[in-house]
């Protein structure tokens, strides 16, 4: 017969301070666990969501980022005339050629940041369905006007609607703000590519992005373009291209998070062991009574184990709740693949919360097992005789 759960709950509430301290300790470990997952996840999903699986990006062979890529004008023109490209309603190919430069600007707090300044065409927005203007209007081609991403506007100085920003020795009016739904584009500044080229003294584009008419046509397009000796380019799925940029840093963040939490969990398990040993020690008489009443050793072991897991899960719950305010907070880091600033949001997902709770429960089970076994092995007479 099992010992009623109420027994464990009463025990936990009888030693409130001890229960709260241990639960909080374990809760903080879950908190760090979820915190680092949310950090890595937010960074990765910002870059992953930047690319679309139906788009392909063409960059120079050997380059790992747009910044180090070169696509000549004639090469861009011949890429955009390929038959596998989807058509816009007016019959023109859904493809764009873009110029990407890094410009050193000041953040609102005065520290420097490398901001991606992208020269775009009329098709650029059509190719990224996630992007839409939230304030003002689009820039007019040929004029010294730019639009800025929402996160760039929030973090970079002089990026409000109507402000003027100095780039390449000229003053540019900010005429619009666009929302790219947390993707890398949100940290960028966009203007007219044909105007940018002479102003930034760049005779070539950095990339060509295009929409495929059929996803299955990617292979054929890639084969033809990569075999063309005149251009020396590589063709990638846009989503894979951006995901690859996040791989190293996200893996590092996850690795650091895992290392920290695993080592820290060991410390918390030691704490739980202490608490449960003390609980078993101070309840020797009770254990003797339970045994005398006819409860089996198995049910005593189970009961103490349940108590420990309950305690830890309570902590896990606390830790999970404490991570909720972190969700959505914007932070930024340098995207090491492109040396540019990328802002992203912490992303706490239900599955992270669940893993945090499971993690806590496992800590409780590990920390509770040996003390529970000790409790179950008591001999009735000795246990009752003890103080």
């Amino acid at each position: 017969m099992a010992i009623p759960l109420a027994y464990n709950l009463r025990n936990l509430s009888a030693r409130k301070v001890s229960t709260v301290l241990t639960a909080l300790g374990i809760g903080l470990v879950s908190w760090v666990f979820i915190f680092t997952l949310a950090l890595a996840g937010g960074f990765q999903s910002a870059l992953q969501a930047t690319g679309s699986p139906t788009n392909a990006i063409v960059i120079r062979n050997g380059s790992t980022a747009e910044l180090t890529s070169i696509v000549a004008r004639d090469a861009a023109a011949s890429i955009e005339s390929q038959p596998e490209i989807a058509r816009a309603p007016d019959g023109t190919p859904l493809a764009t050629h873009e110029l990407v430069v890094l410009w050193n600007l000041k953040r609102k707090n005065g520290t420097p940041a490398n901001v991606v300044v992208r020269g775009v065409t009329a098709k650029s927005v059509a190719l990224r369905p996630k992007i839409h203007l939230v304030e003002g209007r689009m820039f007019r081609p040929g004029l010294e006007e730019v639009v800025v991403g929402k996160l760039a506007q929030a973090r970079i100085a002089h990026c409000a609607l109507g402000d003027r920003i100095k780039l390449a020795g000229r003053q540019w009016s900010i005429v619009g703000v666009f929302d790219a739904q947390g993707t890398a584009f949100d940290s960028e500044i966009w203007g007219d590519v044909e105007l940018f080229m002479p102003v930034f003294d760049r005779p070539v584009y950095q990339s060509v992005t295009l929409r495929l008419d059929e996803p299955s046509h990617f292979g054929a397009l890639r084969k033809r373009l990569e075999a063309d000796p005149r251009m020396s380019v590589q063709v990638k799925h846009e989503d894979e291209f951006y995901a690859a940029q996040s791989a190293t840093l996200a893996a590092l963040l996850r690795g650091l998070g895992l290392f920290v939490t695993l080592v820290m969990a060991l410390g918390a398990i030691f704490g739980a062991l202490n608490t449960m040993y003390a609980a078993v020690g101070s309840r020797t008489k009770e254990i003797g009574t339970l045994l005398a009443l006819g409860f089996s050793r198995g049910s005593i072991l189970t009961s103490f184990l349940i108590e420990s897991v309950l305690l830890a899960t309570l902590g896990g719950l606390l830790g999970s709740l404490m991570t909720l305010p972190v969700n959505g907070i914007t932070t930024s880091t340098m995207n090491f693949a492109s040396f540019s600033e990328i802002a992203f949001r912490f992303q706490v997902t239900p599955s992270m919360l669940l893993s945090g709770m499971i993690f806590a429960a496992v800590m409780g089970a590990l920390g509770g097992f040996f003390p529970s076994r000790k409790a179950a092995r008591r001999v009735i007479v000795e246990a009752l005789r003890e103080a």
Partner: protein
């Protein structure tokens, strides 16, 4: 202190508890030192930078190069006593994951301007006289097992293709803060291999100035010369340049500090709990000590001293372990932290933290023990 034996005897009574507590504190401090070292490693480049060196780059960003022709004009600026230049190569070895810095440098001036790069004279001579030669840092050589005379293939991302360099020197850093994970090769070799239109461009100029006091005036003068040219410059001290780079990494320091504080706080809660339980179990014993004439103050110091002793022991173990593990391991986390080394300041900070932890976790049980009333304590337990 003659009561030290009493404290030790108390700790030894429940060996398991003492062991578990000391180790959980050691783990907390180990993690603290590790995270703190991540931050100080980012800043190693600051400590290695020289106050008499200025960095000149394109005002917009490092992506834009400067003409080689600037060299003559820079050398003529009063106060400049030496000049070197180079380009960030941005390549990788075999796989993009194998990241480390490669610079194409003007070899005749490299060792003159960077005295912290220490190279045996014979190796320096061999490096100078061979166009495709390179030198690599000691840590890099150990990581990939490269030896003198080896051919190192590097795939360029900015300068496409596979580049082969012959290792003619393995440098060591003059101080421990000097990055030993860099490959330097001939700027001339890079320049001659480029197509006509891309030749004679320089990413960064380094200027040596006669005294640190000249930094502001020389920087201002250099930037004024090129202000209205198509390639304006930004000149700053090496330290300011590195600091700008670090600040671009963003909030990493804040995030790590948050995580580190959470760890220390969590373990502190657990330790407080342990101390309180230990004191509670000894209620009768403390009452007996008081009956024997131990004053309240002494009891306070005994119980508090026990907590402090445990924490400091754990702290010494944790910080010591961190210092040992990272000292000889050449750990770089995939090239992100070229100089991962626990600083003495970090160890001291860790020990201080352990002491604070011990004090805080000892206060509550110590005060409780000191206030204990003999009669009621003895009655309760019996």
């Amino acid at each position: 202190m003659k009561y030290l034996r009493l404290i030790v005897a108390n700790l030894l009574r429940s060996k398991r508890r003492t062991f578990l507590t000391v180790f959980s504190i050691a783990i907390a401090l180990f993690l603290f030192c590790t995270l703190r070292t991540v931050i100080t490693s980012f800043e190693a480049s600051l400590r290695a930078s020289k106050a008499t060196r200025l960095v000149v780059r394109h005002a917009a960003s490092l992506v834009f190069p400067l003409p080689l022709a600037y060299r003559e004009r820079l050398a003529q600026v009063p106060g400049v006593t030496g000049i070197s230049y180079g380009n960030w190569f941005g390549g990788y070895y075999q796989d993009p994951k194998n990241q480390f810095a490669q610079f194409a440098m003007d070899v005749p001036t490299l060792l003159d301007l960077f005295p912290e790069v220490v190279l045996p004279t014979a190796q320096a001579e061999a490096f100078r006289s061979e166009r495709t030669a390179c030198i690599i840092g000691g840590a890099l050589a150990r990581k990939y097992g490269w030896k003198l005379g080896d051919q190192v293939p590097i795939i360029g991302t900015i300068f496409p293709g596979e580049w082969r360099f012959v290792v003619r020197g393995i440098y060591t850093g003059q101080t421990k803060d000097v990055d030993e994970n860099t490959l330097f090769f001939h700027w001339d070799y890079l320049n001659e291999s480029l197509p006509e239109g891309r030749r004679n461009f320089v990413g960064i100029y380094w200027l040596r100035i006669a005294s640190p006091d000249l930094a502001a005036s020389v920087s201002g003068r250099v930037d004024a010369i090129f202000e209205n040219s198509p390639q304006p410059t930004k000149t700053e001290t090496e330290k300011a340049f590195q600091a700008g780079f670090i600040s671009m990494i963003g909030n990493v320091q804040l995030l790590l500090t948050i995580i580190g504080s959470a760890i220390v706080f969590a373990i502190m809660l657990v330790t407080i709990n342990t101390m309180m339980m230990a004191a509670r179990e000894r209620t009768r014993e403390i009452a007996v000590l008081k009956t024997l004439g131990f004053s309240d103050g002494l009891i306070l110091r005994l119980v508090g001293g026990e907590a402090l002793f445990l924490s400091l022991l754990g702290g010494a173990l944790g910080c010591g372990l961190a210092a040992l593990v990272f000292r000889e391991s050449d750990f770089t986390a995939g090239g992100f932290f070229p100089n991962f080394r626990v600083l003495p300041e970090t160890v001291l900070l860790g020990l201080l933290l352990a002491a604070i932890m011990g004090f805080l976790s000892g206060v509550a049980p110590a005060v409780q023990a000191a206030r204990l009333e003999i009669a009621s304590a003895l009655r309760k337990v019996a």
